[in-house]
């Protein structure tokens, strides 16, 4: 689907005609680079259009299967926590009927201060979208996340995308697994659980998720094994350390 700039004119053989046409059109308007939330990992940020998760546009997150719902919620809240850690401001979490309320102490363990989070419990998806839209117009917010019970429809996604434009907010919609519908979300993430990283005593240290970027407008897709450091609010790529033993041993040799 990707079509780099100018490819559609590849049939035009005459380069001079092309130059003449360019002159006719005039210089393109300067591109406005929107603010974004970088993952801090070059492998991922390079694939996203502006070097990170664009703020002020809609992003869709979904679990890989029903059993991964907690992992998807964890990934969503980790993104919110990362965004909140960078500046003052609060976040709103609008929860549909099928989603359990997060546990305060668990949020602390994920690096998200529950005091900066407003939870709004609603009954239907329509109310979720209403509340998310209302939150987008509020002041002093940094992130809005909506947890819905069905697919994100085209019409609602367009509405939210337009409402989010220019607000500079991180807007995430978490939908259930296998509820795919065509919409205008800038990125679509699919999250599955993975074995957590261990410390040297073999205890669980950081949560890990198998993250698939299934759709990325103006970017490239990919999949990674991500881990989340709640204290530093930083993502890490798990594969480079744990699964690639030779690299690790090289490092150790260099140290020794």
């Amino acid at each position: 689907m990707r079509r780099p700039r100018g490819t559609s004119l590849k049939d035009v053989q005459d380069a001079e005609a092309l130059i003449a046409l360019r002159d006719l059109v005039g210089s393109p308007p300067p591109l406005i680079v929107p603010a974004c939330l970088p993952f801090g990992l070059p492998e991922i940020d390079a694939r996203l259009p502006h070097g990170g998760l664009a703020l002020g546009s809609l992003h869709e997150v979904a679990p890989d299967s029903d059993a991964d719902a907690a992992a998807a919620l964890g990934f969503t809240l980790a993104l919110v926590a990362r965004h909140l850690a960078q500046a003052e401001g609060e976040a709103v979490l609008v929860m549909g009927r099928g989603h359990p309320t997060p546990y305060g102490h668990g949020l602390v363990d994920l690096g998200l201060d529950p005091g900066r989070l407003l939870l709004f419990e609603v009954e239907t998806d329509t109310e979720v979208y209403q509340a998310v839209e209302e939150s987008l117009h509020a002041q002093g917010l940094r992130a809005v996340a909506g947890l819905v019970d069905a697919a994100l429809p085209l019409k609602q996604s367009r509405r939210l995308h337009l409402a989010a434009g220019g607000t500079g907010l991180l807007l995430l919609i978490l939908r259930p697994a296998q509820a795919v519908e065509a919409n205008v979300a800038a990125t679509r993430w699919r999250i599955a659980g993975a074995a957590a990283s261990r410390d040297r005593f073999g205890c669980i240290l950081k949560p890990r998720w198998r993250v698939h970027l299934d759709r990325c407008r103006n970017g490239r897709t990919g999949h990674w094994l991500l881990e989340w450091n709640h204290a530093a609010h930083r993502f890490g790529l798990a594969g480079t350390l744990a699964d690639h033993a030779p690299e690790a041993s090289q490092g150790r040799c260099a140290l020794g």
Partner: protein
């Protein structure tokens, strides 16, 4: 006439004038009435909830006379109400004028009523219910005891069985009862009889629980022409809030909860509650929230032929220091941007806006609470992040543990190897624990729980606990949380 199921079958509960003329009495068995009169009588089944609702509507209407209105309890018949008019009768030109006004309005609405006014609620009840038609309805102050002497003892709101026993003893009238020695009466019939007697005579107080408390801050406005338009309601509330804002500012307070009461022309009244996440005196905030609420309600708020009176009460207050008035009109931002948003969401969508708060408990489900969102100066301190290693807590905590089935554990008191939960088989690859959490002995005798953090093959991390001990079965395994 109306009948309901009473002791020993269907009994009459209410009668119309024709039935009374035939000599029927409330409380009579329906079968006997049929046998006496024949089948020409029309009987309706009693609808007690509808009766109670109608009485409450009437009580709300009667608040035009005084804020203290108390409906009769079930034991008092449940078919009337008390008005405490002390201090408000002069507004209507004296007690006689008030009573005649009340009687006139009730009869205009075709509500038959018997009204009495006395020093005590007990005396007023007895006079209204049990005096003859010709006796005076208004008893002068201090004359209540004399007026009561000739009435039957059942007028004291006592158990009919006690009244029957008193009748057998020859104590038919309240006067005779008041003259009788008290000690044998108390020994035989208990304290309740003497309490009712003393309350009727004014020797002991009878506290009232009013239908609604009289608010300290209240403003109301009546209209010559009834209103029904949303814009006018909102504009009126803005004016009412301006009136209240001066009083609140003088007291250094702000409104935290507001109640708008709309009185319809036909006597029906409806109320809207507005909750605010921080105390406010700002009339435009209140007007905006009310606008959102009315938008949401739409036709659900039935204006009928229009509202004739709007009243705005402050039902909860909070401290609010006097602020400096801004010269420029800028959107005021509170300490947190979330306060106005939470209010707007609550009014527009009408669902719960909640905040998570830590609680001092080591039982996981009691260690955090969900409270309605409000803006507080105090920042909540969540444990964790300190120097000591805090045990890990799940991202989602189930309200109560869900039983894990087919549990297989390698050692009797070790973590499980596999179990089935929510119809899925979990094969455990890694387990940490146990973290032992004992029940709070000062609350109840809950068994000790041993918590394990387990991870299965697919990377799903769960928090489950074993309740009970293998040395003392039964033992149960329960899943209580999900980790990210």
């Amino acid at each position: 006439m109306v009948a309901a199921l009473g002791p020993g079958g269907l009994r009459l509960t209410a009668l119309d004038a024709n039935a009374r003329a035939m000599g029927l009495q409330p409380g009579e068995p329906l079968a006997r009435a049929r046998a006496r009169i024949g089948t020409g009588i029309v009987v309706h089944p009693a609808d007690r909830p509808a009766d109670a609702a109608a009485l409450e509507r009437l009580c709300l209407w009667a608040m035009r006379y005084t804020p203290v209105v108390v409906p009769f309890r079930e034991s008092e018949g449940g078919d009337g109400f008390f008005l405490d008019v002390s201090g408000s009768s002069h507004l209507f030109g004296g007690e006689e004028a008030l009573v005649s006004d009340l009687a006139g309005r009730l009869s205009a609405n075709a509500i038959p009523a018997r009204i009495a006014l006395a020093d005590t609620p007990g005396a007023a009840f007895a006079l209204a219910r049990h005096s003859g038609p010709g006796s005076p309805r208004i008893v002068a102050p201090g004359a209540g005891a004399a007026a009561l002497r000739g009435l039957p003892v059942i007028a004291l709101r006592i158990d009919p069985a006690i009244a029957e026993s008193l009748r057998k003893l020859g104590l038919r009238r309240i006067g005779a009862l008041a003259d009788a020695p008290r000690a044998p009466l108390a020994r035989r019939f208990g304290e309740a009889l003497l309490l009712r007697l003393d309350q009727a005579l004014g020797h002991r107080p009878e506290p009232f629980v009013s239908l609604s408390e009289a608010p300290a801050f209240s403003a109301s406005r009546g209209f010559l022409d009834p209103i029904g338009h949303q814009n006018i309601i909102v504009a009126t509330v803005r004016h009412l809030m301006e009136e209240l804002a001066h009083k609140l500012a003088a007291a250094g307070l702000g409104a935290r909860c507001l109640r708008l009461i709309l009185h319809r022309v036909d006597g029906h009244s409806s109320s809207l509650d507005l909750g605010l996440s921080e105390p406010t005196r700002c009339e435009s905030t209140v007007a905006r929230l009310l606008d959102l609420r009315l938008d949401r309600l739409g036709p659900a708020l039935d204006a009928g032929f229009g509202f004739e009176t709007l009243r705005l009460d402050v039902t909860a207050i909070g401290l609010l220091a006097p602020g400096q008035a801004a010269l420029a009109i800028v959107p005021a931002l509170g300490a947190s941007g979330l306060g106005p948003l939470a209010d707007a969401l609550r009014q527009r969508i009408g669902r719960r806006a909640i905040r998570l708060e830590p609680r001092a408990s080591h039982i996981p489900e009691r260690a955090a609470a969900q409270t309605p969102w409000r803006v507080d100066a105090v920042t909540l301190h969540w444990p964790g992040g300190g120097a000591y290693a805090k045990p890990r807590r799940p991202l989602v905590l189930l309200r109560r543990g869900e039983a894990a089935e087919e549990v297989i554990a390698l050692a009797p008191d070790g973590p499980p190897q596999r179990f089935r939960w929510r119809r899925r088989l979990h094969r455990i690859t890694h387990a940490e624990g146990p973290e032992r959490i004992a029940g709070e002995w000062w609350h109840e005798t809950a068994p000790t729980r041993d918590y394990y953090l387990v991870e299965d093959e697919s990377g799903c991390r769960l928090w489950l606990y074993r309740e009970g001990n293998y040395s003392a079965p039964p033992v149960g395994w329960f899943v209580q949380g999900l980790f990210a």
